[in-house]
């Protein structure tokens, strides 16, 4: 059976939500950017602001010079979360399987629901209409036979519009698009792929699709297969519900950029603590830990380490985090952001070893650390993250 995937999204979601709350903002250039930092970048811009020459990623300082009438709002995570939940309440009515892409954007797998709700195109239209009626949020919807096509389709249209890519026409749909449309190509690790596409003068996905796979392999090696498939609109990745998302991630944006190692390690261990808490609440353990850092000059470095046995305790993972930090931070440049990612997540097994070979002191130390972690979880749940934190003794 052909898969039927719908991508529903509210363009500039935070802007849209802000305008719902304050209708006076509807006609003026509006942008969302953190206001507590001096070097903030625009996270979202309204169409009016775009018309004035602003774009996402532009520095707030520059944006204000370009567009003096710009109104800037600080991100409001609570309001965004509430709005997200509202959208979800509509999405879950129609989709048995759904995956959040980012705030205000969901990918739905509606395969096999034709008899209940009609075709995927109808489902997309219904979701669009319902969201508009109930929440006055004007969304876009892309429909296709896979996630890649549906998501790309949704990015090509204006609010209220729907783009249905009929099964079999994926390649025709993808052909005129720029190679840069493909997800992930903007990542630093993909720089070489982009460079080679440029070397070979392969500018559109159609040009990639037309090229023989064997020839592509000469330039792109193992990545050629996926590149060629994507260029033809083929994507076998399933829609994954959040409960079985294979990763947990914590990111921190440093303001100002920081180079003080003890302080950075402190922030990392805070992040680890939050991740471990989530793991414990999901009764899962982690088998891989990776750290990605971004320097002030935007260079990214990522390192990964296996954790055996899998664990959900800070006392086991802290040394791994410190080691990752030392492997990542080799340059004498300030850090702008750090992202700690847990993968290889599996269910927690209650069975402990019958004959623990660890020294007794070590067992006691770890038991104490685990009890402390559980106690802290309770305190954090009740009084918030900042109620109590780890310190460092000299």
């Amino acid at each position: 059976m052909d898969r039927q995937i719908v991508c529903f999204a509210i363009p500039s979601f935070e802007v849209a939500v802000a305008r719902l709350n304050d209708p006076t903002l509807r006609t003026r250039p509006l942008a969302i950017a953190p206001l507590n930092t001096s070097r903030a970048l625009l996270r979202e811009v309204s169409p009016e602001a775009e018309d004035e020459g602003l774009s996402v990623g532009m520095s707030l300082e520059h944006a204000r010079r370009v567009c003096p009438s710009l109104h800037v709002l600080s991100p409001n995570p609570y309001r965004v979360h509430t709005a997200d939940q509202s959208l979800l309440s509509v999405v879950t009515c129609y989709a048995p399987v759904w995956e959040p892409a980012q705030s205000g954007s969901f990918t739905m797998d509606v395969t096999g629901t034709g008899r209940l709700f009609g075709s995927a195109c109808d489902v997309a239209a219904k979701v669009q209409r319902e969201v508009l009626e109930r929440y006055q949020l004007d969304g876009v919807a892309g429909v296709g036979s896979n996630k890649l096509v549906a998501q790309i389709a949704a990015t090509l249209i204006e609010p209220s519009e729907l783009y249905d890519v009929r099964p079999g026409s994926e390649q025709v749909f993808m052909s005129p698009l720029s190679v840069r449309t493909l997800p992930g190509l903007h990542r630093p690790c993909m720089r070489k792929v982009l460079e080679r596409l440029d070397d070979l003068n392969l500018c559109t996905l159609g040009e990639v699709a037309e090229s023989p796979l064997a020839a592509l392999e000469l330039a792109f090696g193992n990545y050629a297969g996926q590149l060629s498939r994507w260029a033809q609109g083929i994507d076998h990745l399933p829609v994954l519900p959040p409960a079985i998302q294979p990763r947990l991630e914590e990111a921190v944006l440093l303001e100002p950029d920081e180079i003080d190692d003890p302080l950075l390690k402190g922030r990392l261990l805070d992040m680890l603590q939050r991740l471990c808490r989530t793991l414990r609440s999901q009764r899962r353990v982690c088998g891989n830990l990776s750290l990605t850092i971004r320097y002030s000059d935007q260079l990214e470095v990522a390192k990964r380490e296996c954790v055996r046995p899998e664990t959900c305790w800070e006392c086991d993972l802290s040394p791994v985090v410190v080691s990752l930090f030392q492997r990542c931070v080799r340059r004498r440049i300030r850090l702008r952001a750090m992202t700690l990612t847990m993968t290889g997540l599996t269910a927690h097994v209650e069975q402990v070893p019958l004959f623990d070979e660890r020294p007794v002191d070590e067992q006691r130390r770890q038991d104490r650390a685990k009890k402390l972690a559980v106690a802290l979880d309770t305190l954090h749940a009740r009084f918030g993250d900042h109620a109590i934190r780890y310190g460092r003794s000299h």
Binding site: S38, N201, E207, A215, L218, E258, P262, R332, R334
Partner: protein
């Protein structure tokens, strides 16, 4: 008594300057101080002066540190100093340096302080004399005391002062972090000193050794024993083949007469008299060996240029050391050497820059490293370097540092220092004004503390010291990064210590001339003999110089010189023009262009055109007649000081010399007083004295003597001759040798204006360097950024040996280039001529296929890159667009801007106009009031023009100015002496479709 102190000459460790250290010691009531910088005596000669001026007796010493041992060595006698130098040389030069063994071998005349038990044990077994156990706060003092008691070695208390106050510890840590290439947080304890290493007074120090009064008494005892009457006045000349003084002089005499016959054919009475006069002085001053050594060095290269005052000597001219005839050009030998001159003048020789390493190698092979070493450059943290290094410690990325430094350079002067402002508040205010955020205020604040701190030893551009016996007994020697032995002193201390240096310098224009002459021979078969070639009387060359068309010509290509030449000749009345000697005026012009003499240039032009002028004082009428009453040459300082200030010739010469030195404030003050008193006694009025002293001060830092300028003007004439008659060969040689005043792009643009065609690089036609022939210049492979030189040379050799490349496949087969390097060649269009039907992307695919491990089938032929993409490749690979002028990229935008072409500027004198311009070069200067302004040179497709951005306008637009950017310039066209310039009123960065140009500035030009 302080026996262990560090100054800022302890590289990246010690904080205080010599002046501050000595003042602090004196303020503590001490009368003696020992300077013990780490592993060196980098500031020894300056220390002697400073200490004596402060009223302190100086002890020379060092803290010798190796990986596992340390000791403080103090020179008790002159022999001890020689041993100190030998030990330090071994520390820096011997890979297998053993501190304990070396000190044991050379300890005669040295006092040794150490807390290193192993070393003390070994040394005490040999002799206990002059051996002390060093006790210092912050070091393991208890162990040292126990050791001292156990071995019955006398203790001595020191502070090991790295800084004056404990608050300066942070500065020390910052220095260490810079030196260790790390951050403050990552700086480990063993990488820096401790906070107690400040210059604590004796009373404080006594508290650390309450039960050991001897430890303090011993400091006084040692200080009394150490030698403090240091005198480095004796001149140490090199020796020529170990000849006796008489034999050396006779050899010089015979060589001089032999050379005179070569130079003049027949030796006239005038020539003979001049030779004899010079030889007498040379003999009396013991200079014969020195001349013979220089003569021997110069004979190793066919093309040289003697620079400096040595060009005034006929002996130099006859020996071939210099090439300008001192009789023909009226050059005074006394400027070089006179009986009253006490300090040794040195002879400076220029060699083609790429031949200099071989010359140095010959010197060291011939004279041996025992007798020869290079003079050092003591690299210090200048303002920009201090800011840059501190910013790195704070983790700021390079691009942000570059931007901030640019802002500081252009705009920091605009923040006035208000009364009562602290350095911290000033730094905060400057950063606020420039929009620089945290941590820049902190960085700027610390940079003030670290400025001028000695960082490391570099090599002087060419100074070599030769001594008759052993160089290591006079000064410690190190090994430079390039492998040459280098002494620890820079040129001023070297000279003050009596060591005579020979400057063997690299000169790019000599290489330009060499390469152009070789190309001419290759292309036309014509041989021009460098030694006998005399372009001074060539009409085309004279005319070219009169027009100021001297871009690319040695020494006279800067915008200021070109403008001055134009002003001088364009409006010169015909009767004067008919008799005016272009060479003589070129000598004057090249000396007149110096930073502090801008105000005199226009007056000079007026006078040269025949305008009447009043001399500043009748006493100077004769003295400055040759230069129309304006002080032009260094020797004019001496002449004016003698004529007006009543100086002796020696004092006048000293004043001239002091002006060019770095640390001159004190001496200059004395000479100023002497000048004012002398002139006053001659009845000269105060305002006149002020004006003349101001003219004298314009020689500070950067000025020339007439022989030097005459010698250089001759090379300028040779360059100009080549430019006039062989433009393609000349431009190719100029760009190939790099390092001129302008970027490669600017020279190629000039080539296009001269009617040359610039051809792209080609795998079958390009050499490594640019090649010129007829009316074409072929871009060399050297212009392709990131292309490895050895690969490029391999490509050329293979082509010359086995014939042209037939295809990419053939090339890859024969040269085995790496994929990344081959990509550069394809993108640069090197294979276009042999690609046949294949486009550059198609060639790329075949390149990937050639490097793949498995066989491949059909390979697509993708269409050619778009114009925009090709342009991006050109910018990335060459640094400039090849097929068009950079302003062509803005054609659509320019079409909507009313403007005039640069070639029509002269038709709009006195009017406001708008022109488009690509910024070629810029020069920031300060006005008399200290306000920054800038002279810029721009070009459009029709010509080059110069513009001035005065302070008020500069303040508004300085943030927009950078080389290799396009501008819309509006300003007033002004004409002076028939030369048209633009005074900028408004400036706008030209952009495409409202956006700033999307590429980085194309080449960095050193201004």
């Amino acid at each position: 008594m302080h026996l262990h102190t560090h100054s800022s000459y302890s590289p990246m460790q010690g904080v205080p300057t010599l002046e501050k250290l000595c003042e602090a010691v004196r303020a503590q009531g001490q009368d003696t101080v020992a300077l013990t910088d780490t592993n060196g005596v980098y500031g020894a000669i300056r220390f002697l002066d400073v200490a004596r001026e402060t009223g302190l007796k100086p002890i020379l010493g060092t803290e010798l540190v190796s990986r596992s041992h340390r000791a403080v060595l103090l020179a008790k006698t002159p022999t001890g100093y020689a041993n100190l130098c030998r030990t330090l040389s071994a520390r820096h030069c011997d890979d297998s340096f053993d501190l304990i063994g070396t000190v044991a071998r050379h300890r005669t005349g040295l006092v040794i302080l150490s807390d290193d038990p192993t070393a003390l044990t070994v040394w005490s077994q040999e002799s206990r004399e002059d051996l002390y156990v060093e006790l210092s706060p912050g070091s393991p003092m208890h162990e040292a005391i126990m050791f001292s008691r156990a071995r019955r070695l006398p203790p001595v208390a020191t502070t090991r002062a790295l800084f004056l106050r404990s608050a300066d510890y942070q500065v020390h840590r910052l220095l260490r972090a810079i030196a260790e290439n790390t951050t403050l947080a990552r700086l480990s304890a063993d990488q820096c000193g401790v906070s107690s290493q400040w210059l604590m007074p004796e009373a404080n120090l006594a508290r650390y050794v309450p039960n050991l009064p001897d430890a303090l008494v011993n400091t006084h005892r040692i200080a009394e024993q150490c030698y403090t009457d240091w005198d480095f006045k004796e001149t140490i000349f090199p020796s020529f083949r170990q000849l006796s003084a008489g034999a050396a002089f006779e050899t010089l005499r015979s060589k001089t007469y032999e050379g005179a016959r070569w130079r003049y054919g027949k030796v006239s009475q005038d020539v003979k008299q001049r030779i004899e006069r010079e030889l007498t002085v040379i003999r009396d001053k013991g200079y014969a060996d020195y001349f013979l050594v220089v003569d021997e060095v110069v004979r190793q290269a066919p093309r040289t240029c003697g620079r400096g005052s040595a060009a005034a000597s006929i002996v130099s001219y006859c020996l071939g050391i210099t090439h300008v005839d001192p009789i023909r050009h009226n050059l005074m030998f006394e400027r070089f050497l006179n009986p009253g001159r006490h300090d040794p003048p040195d002879i400076d020789i220029d060699f083609p820059w790429d031949e200099r390493p071989k010359i140095l190698e010959w010197v060291f092979t011939h004279y041996g490293q025992r007798h020869a070493a290079m003079v050092a450059n003591q690299n210090t943290l200048a303002t920009r370097a201090a800011l840059r290094e501190i910013a790195k410690v704070y983790g700021i990325p390079a691009s942000e540092i570059g931007k901030a430094l640019n802002l500081f350079q252009r705009r920091a002067d605009f923040v006035e220092v208000m009364p009562g402002m602290t350095v911290k508040s000033w730094a905060t205010e400057v950063c606020r004004a420039l929009g620089l955020r945290t941590p820049w205020p902190e960085i700027l604040y610390w940079s003030v503390h670290l400025e001028n701190h000695f960082r490391n030893l570099g090599l002087h551009p060419g100074g070599v010291v030769l001594v008759p016996d052993e160089i290591r007994r006079y000064v410690p020697v190190e090994i430079s990064a390039s492998g040459w032995p280098v002494i620890q002193w820079e040129k001023d201390q070297t000279e003050d210590a009596g060591l005579v240096k020979i400057d063997l310098l690299g000169n790019r224009s000599l290489a330009v001339i060499r390469d152009a002459l070789a190309a001419i021979k290759r292309n036309t078969g014509l041989t021009i003999d460098y030694a006998t070639w005399d372009p001074i009387s060539d009409p085309a060359t004279n005319e070219l110089i009169r027009r100021g068309d001297t871009m690319g010509c040695f020494y006279v290509e800067s915008p200021a010189t070109r403008l001055l030449l134009k002003k001088l000749w364009a409006d010169m009345p015909p009767p004067r023009r008919a008799v005016a000697d272009v060479f003589e005026y070129l000598v004057i012009v090249s000396s007149l262009i110096r930073p502090a003499a801008n105000t005199f240039t226009e007056e000079f032009v007026r006078r040269a055109h025949g305008h009447r002028y009043g001399s500043p004082h009748p006493l100077l009428d004769d003295v400055l007649a040759e230069t129309h009453g304006i002080m032009v040459y260094q020797e004019d300082v001496m002449k004016v000081a003698v004529a007006l200030g009543g100086f002796s010739v020696e004092d006048g010469d000293q004043l001239r010399k002091v002006l060019s030195k770095k640390h001159k404030a004190k001496q200059l003050q004395d000479y100023q007083r002497q000048f004012y008193e002398g002139a006053g006694a001659r009845g000269v009025e105060r305002p006149v004295i002020d004006a003349i002293w101001a003219m004298i001060m314009s020689f500070a830092g950067y000025s020339f003597c007439k022989p030097h300028s005459a010698s250089y003007a001759q090379v300028s004439f040779k360059s100009a001759y080549l430019r006039a008659h062989y433009p393609a060969e000349f431009i190719a040689a100029v760009v190939s040798n790099e390092g001129g005043y302008y970027s490669a792009f600017a020279y190629l643009s000039e080539g296009r204006r001269m009617g040359l065609t610039i051809l792209p690089p080609d795998i079958n036609a390009s050499e490594w360097a640019y090649t010129g022939s007829g009316t074409t210049v072929r871009i060399g492979l050297m212009q392709i950024k990131s292309l490895q030189e050895d690969l490029a040379k391999r490509i050329v050799t293979e082509r010359q040996t086995h014939g042209s490349y037939r295809s990419l496949h053939d090339f890859l087969d024969r040269v085995k280039a790496e994929i990344g390097q081959a990509k550069l060649l394809i993108k640069a269009g090197c294979f276009d001529s042999i690609a046949g039907e294949l486009t550059r992307p198609a060639l790329m695919w075949r390149l990937f296929a050639a490097h793949a491990t498995k066989p491949h089938g059909y390979l697509p032929i993708r269409p050619e890159y778009s114009f925009q993409k090709n342009l991006a490749h050109e910018l990335a690979l060459f640094g400039f667009p090849l097929g068009c002028h950079p302003l062509d990229l803005f054609r659509e935008v320019i079409a909507h801007i009313p403007h005039i072409p640069a070639k029509d500027l002269a038709q709009h004198v006195g009017k406001d106009v708008t022109v488009i311009g690509w910024l070629i070069t810029e020069k920031i200067i300060s006005t008399k009031k200290g306000e920054p302004m800038e002279f810029i040179t721009l070009e459009d497709q029709t010509g080059l023009y110069d513009a001035a951005v005065f302070p008020n306008t500069y303040r508004r637009y300085c943030h927009l100015l950078a080389t290799n950017q396009a501008y819309v310039v509006t300003g007033l066209v002004e004409e002076q002496f028939s030369v048209v310039t633009l005074t900028v009123k408004e400036l706008r960065l030209l952009s495409t479709c409202g956006q700033a140009a999307q590429f980085d500035p194309i080449e960095e030009v050193v201004v």
